[in-house]
């Protein structure tokens, strides 16, 4: 009988009721009396010098309150980058200014030039059309390698070139070179990790409100981390102290990383509302989102794998160009380095691993973390080169992987991380069982009988979640701590509010977090509510990204609940005139061991707030505790995925016929929600592999700027339920957090792209087409070309 309560129960989500009845409250659903609307006039050229901006005629148009340009932001801070990377020569990365509104130059299509604030959005938009901007178009740099050529146009005139940093990490060059020289076989692959747009279905929104009487600002915003926004915007951009700035992220319609970052529009609405003493609202259109939300991925890599005569991996080297876009977004610098380089060992005991990354400025939208952030890029390179090596050597790709698996833990990789636990053979076994690998030959024959090619793709991955500990990430360049916090407030009648730093934008925290507290206290989940998303109500926590909510914030909540239990036991001991050491808590009852004496949870909580019979000399009244939790290490979820595709040889069209994921997430609190996270991640991964591509032309024009040109995965692009299994039954609990959880939000997006591409290449090569690689998205035209060239 599956559990229906506490840890391990697939409880139905309580947040669903409001979302299913239209009662959710997303940022755009919030309106403040008297609010004005802002429309941003954005650059339609990729690179240009602003000669003049004449707003006189526009300012006189009906409803216009005020028009802002870059000049209004002189003396105001720029948008900060939260991570300083040190390059291989020991020098700090180049960090160009990122003004809220363009100053002097525009550097990508979508760069905001002016902001019109008016009584209505329509008036603001009309007035923006009347602004006379004289921009002298400059040559644009789009291709990363061309951007690094001597004499290339510079994105930032005050920098020496377009190289943000040249980073090297892992095993030293001499050792790696020696390993390659001694190799029996070397496999090399050049590949691109396609540029993507995260596309949460809720476009970004910012609503700035100023209370002049109290000199306080409130920003309602579509953010994954309201406290981080308060910190960055308050301290670095606008100079507003924390106690005068409240940031609220209410219901948020998906994030996938792109709502981590501090954006110009947030700072603008807050700034402008103070200037005009009136609330200012911005709601992004989808077209605007394509040119103002940070993009993801966009790496070009060369990877080489060295093997000895027994097919053991002996060395790995990768050279990556990582596109930063025109400015450094909040965590842009960290993604290709510490979230990518550290994962290059994968699941394998390769003794020498070296990672080289050149981060490059181009005249494109800034690029930053997107679901998986760095780990999908690492996994794609590694698992593609392993697959290619298996084909070159004529060995079974599953056997080659198994032979090189790390099997004893803890394991320190050559790229600085220590995996605490895992069992990669177990997830591989599970995947093989669920996939029915022996049945593949018959399925292939059936496809062939229909005139289709069929391929089987295998992939393993490891990721690092719950990025921490703070002292380590500080050494690596993080400009923030990466702990999280929770306050458990027990009320007099025993009900509980838990204020958490994590933010839920689809993950179901309001359901899952109470399951943990309910389990610990032995009370019903219905007595517990989660409060999140409002900096004025929650302790200073870092929000939700990198699959960290339960591993980091959940751990803080456990620690705070433990403090509650300790104090409650003292109160119970007093009430029952027993020794604290003898008090046991079970099913919401405190009892004295070995006796039939007990008091209920509610008796103890009432005593805490009505302390008539209470040990006031020893403990304070009340029952409320806060804990901050700073993890000792990352967590390391891992898994084995498999996919079967059919390729139509006439059209090159690829369809997913069967898909299996076998993940190890450690302990699982709500299996239903975990599986949902994997489904979503896999859909995004299949989207990246087959459909999605953010394309620019050579002049820096964004070609995929709407759903007409950017192919989002739809229901019919994904496998049918009879051919699709997500499994998380292999569980090696994390050894260093109290819940033994690892994080599940990104796995699907990391594990699936190489699985799909490997399957397509298996289909083609097995049919006699010698195709080494096809870049994502593996579109019909690319497949057809590969087969017919």
């Amino acid at each position: 009988m599956p559990k229906d309560h506490g840890i391990g129960a697939s409880q139905k989500r309580r947040e669903d009721v409001r979302f299913l009845t239209g009662a959710g409250q997303y940022t755009d659903d919030i309106n403040v009396h008297g609010q004005a609307y802002v429309y941003f006039l954005r650059s339609d050229v990729a690179h240009g010098k602003i000669n003049s901006i004449d707003t006189a005629a526009a300012s006189a148009m009906p409803g216009v309150v005020r028009i802002f340009t870059g000049a209004d932001f002189e003396g105001v801070g720029g948008l900060p980058c939260g991570w300083q990377v040190t390059d291989k020569h020991g020098e700090a990365m180049k960090e160009p200014a990122h003004p809220v509104l363009a100053q002097g130059k525009v550097r990508h299509v979508g760069d905001p030039i002016a902001a019109v604030v008016a009584d209505s959005l329509e008036q603001a938009r009309n007035a923006a059309e009347a602004i006379d901007v004289d921009i002298e178009e400059l040559p644009a740099v789009v291709d990363m390698k061309a951007a690094l050529n001597a004499g290339a146009t510079k994105v930032h005139d005050d920098l020496s070139d377009n190289l943000c940093y040249d980073w090297q990490f892992g095993t030293d060059t001499e050792t790696v070179d020696a390993a390659f020289a001694a190799a029996a076989h070397v496999t090399k692959l050049e590949l691109r990790n396609n540029r993507l747009v995260a596309n949460p279905m809720e476009p970004r929104v910012a609503l700035g409100e100023y209370n002049r009487a109290k000199d306080e600002s409130t920003l309602y915003t579509t953010s994954q981390n309201p406290h981080v926004i308060r910190l960055l915007m308050g301290a670095f951009v606008l100079g507003i102290p924390e106690h005068k700035l409240r940031v609220v992220a209410p219901d948020v319609g998906g994030g996938f990383g792109t709502k981590i970052f501090h954006y110009a529009e947030e700072a603008f609405c807050t700034f402008a509302s103070r200037k005009i003493n009136r609330a200012v609202k911005w709601t992004s259109s989808r077209s605007e989102a394509f040119m103002s939300d940070a993009h993801g991925r966009d790496h070009v890599s060369t990877i080489e794998l060295a093997l000895d005569a027994d097919n053991n991996f002996t060395a790995l080297r990768t050279d990556t160009y990582a596109n930063m876009g025109a400015y450094l977004s909040t965590f842009a610098s960290c993604t290709p380095t510490w979230l990518h380089g550290t994962l290059m060992a994968g699941n394998y005991k390769t003794p020498a691993v070296q990672v080289n990354v050149k981060a490059v400025f181009t005249n494109t939208v800034p690029v930053d973390a997107y679901r998986g952030a760095g780990r999908p890029e690492a996994t794609f390179q590694l698992e593609r080169v392993i697959d290619k090596a298996a084909r070159e050597l004529g060995v079974d790709p599953i056997k080659l992987r198994r032979q090189n698996f790390i099997t004893s833990f803890p394991y320190a990789t050559p790229v600085a991380v220590e995996y605490d636990t895992g069992d990669y053979n177990a997830t591989m076994d599970k995947m093989e069982e669920l996939m029915d690998i022996p049945g593949f030959a018959a399925r292939r024959a059936a496809s062939e009988a229909k005139g289709k090619l069929r391929g089987l793709g295998i992939n393993c991955f490891i990721e690092a979640c719950g990025i921490a500990p703070s002292n380590l990430v500080g050494q690596l360049g993080a400009r923030a701590g990466l702990y999280d916090a929770a306050t458990v407030r027990v009320n007099a009648t025993g009900s509980i509010s838990v204020m958490v730093g994590a933010h839920s934008h689809g993950q179901g925290h309001e359901t899952v977090f109470p399951q943990v507290v309910a389990e610990m206290l032995g009370i019903d989940e219905s007595m517990i509510d989660i409060v999140h998303g409002d900096s004025s109500k929650i302790p200073f926590g870092m929000g939700t990204y990198g699959s960290r909510s339960l591993a980091v914030c959940g751990s803080a909540m456990v620690r705070a609940t433990e403090k509650i239990i300790n104090k409650a036991k003292k109160i119970a001991a007093h009430l029952m005139e027993a020794s604290e050491a003898d008090i046991e808590l079970k099913d919401g009852q405190f009892s004295v061991a070995g006796t039939d004496k007990s008091v209920a949870w509610g008796d103890v909580t009432l005593a805490a707030y009505v302390p008539h019979n209470y040990p006031l000399e020893d403990i304070e009244p009340g029952l409320e505790e806060t804990a901050f939790y700073d993890p000792a290490n990352f967590t390391y979820p891992a898994g084995a995925y498999a996919c079967e595709v059919e390729v139509d040889p006439d059209t090159g069209k690829v369809t997913i016929e069967k898909f299996v994921s076998a993940d190890d997430f450690g302990n699982v609190v709500n299996p239903m929600i975990v599986e949902g996270q994997v489904h979503g991640g896999i859909a995004q991964g299949i989207g990246q592999a087959l459909l999605e591509n953010c394309a620019y032309d050579e002049n820096g024009q964004l070609l995929s700027a709407s759903y007409m040109d950017y192919a989002m995965p739809r229901a019919s692009d994904l496998p049918h339920m009879a051919n699709y299994t997500v499994d998380h039954s292999c569980q090696t609990p994390c050894t260093h957090n109290p819940l033994g959880v690892k994080g599940c939000g990104e796995a699907g997006a990391i594990g699936s792209p190489p699985t799909v591409v490997n399957a397509v290449l298996d289909a083609l090569n097995s049919a006699g087409h010698k195709v080494a690689h096809i870049d994502m998205p593996v579109s019909p035209s690319r497949v057809w070309e590969a087969m017919n060239s």
Partner: protein, 161 residues
């Protein structure tokens, strides 16, 4: 400005709109029915789906004035009279067919449209019917399950086939 009146979720409503006021803006801003969402500006995502005279329509793609006199149902009108979740809504909760909830109203409206016209759809038919609805969170898997379950089919058996 023109006066429009229509029936929304069983109530007669009216308001002053401009000729170019979109139906979705009339619902969200004039009527404060914010359950209907806007996810795109190219009629591709279906977050704005409502039922108009019994057919699902994208409320971002028509003017409020065009709905003058119409009978509309929005997500706010989908629950049972006692406030409990309707069959489709309950199935979405039961099968975890939503995560962030932003696409959900449009999905529920698309689902009721399908089940009215095709009470026992196949999985392929459900997936095909959702061509105009984008969800970024769920990978559609549980949405498809929820819709099939709401039609009274045994999704456990279908998945095990």
């Amino acid at each position: 400005m023109a006066n429009v009146s229509m029936t929304v979720n069983g109530k007669t409503v009216s308001g002053e709109v401009k000729g170019n006021t979109l139906l979705v803006d009339f619902l969200r801003q004039n009527l404060h029915l914010t359950g209907t969402h806007v996810g795109c500006d190219t009629s591709q995502c279906g977050a704005c789906n409502v039922s108009l005279n019994g057919d699902v329509v994208k409320s971002c793609t028509m003017f409020a004035a065009e709905a003058d006199g119409a009978d509309l149902t929005t997500i706010e009108g989908m629950a049972n009279e006692d406030g409990s979740l309707g069959v489709i809504q309950a199935a979405f909760q039961e099968y975890h067919g939503l995560q962030c909830g932003f696409c959900t109203p449009g999905m529920v409206m698309a689902a009721q449209d399908l089940l009215k016209k095709n009470p026992k759809p196949t999985e392929a038919e459900v997936r095909h019917h959702l061509e105009g609805n984008i969800c970024r969170c769920t990978g559609y898997h549980n949405i498809v399950k929820a819709i099939m379950a709401a039609s009274g089919q045994d999704v456990g058996a279908i998945a095990a086939e």
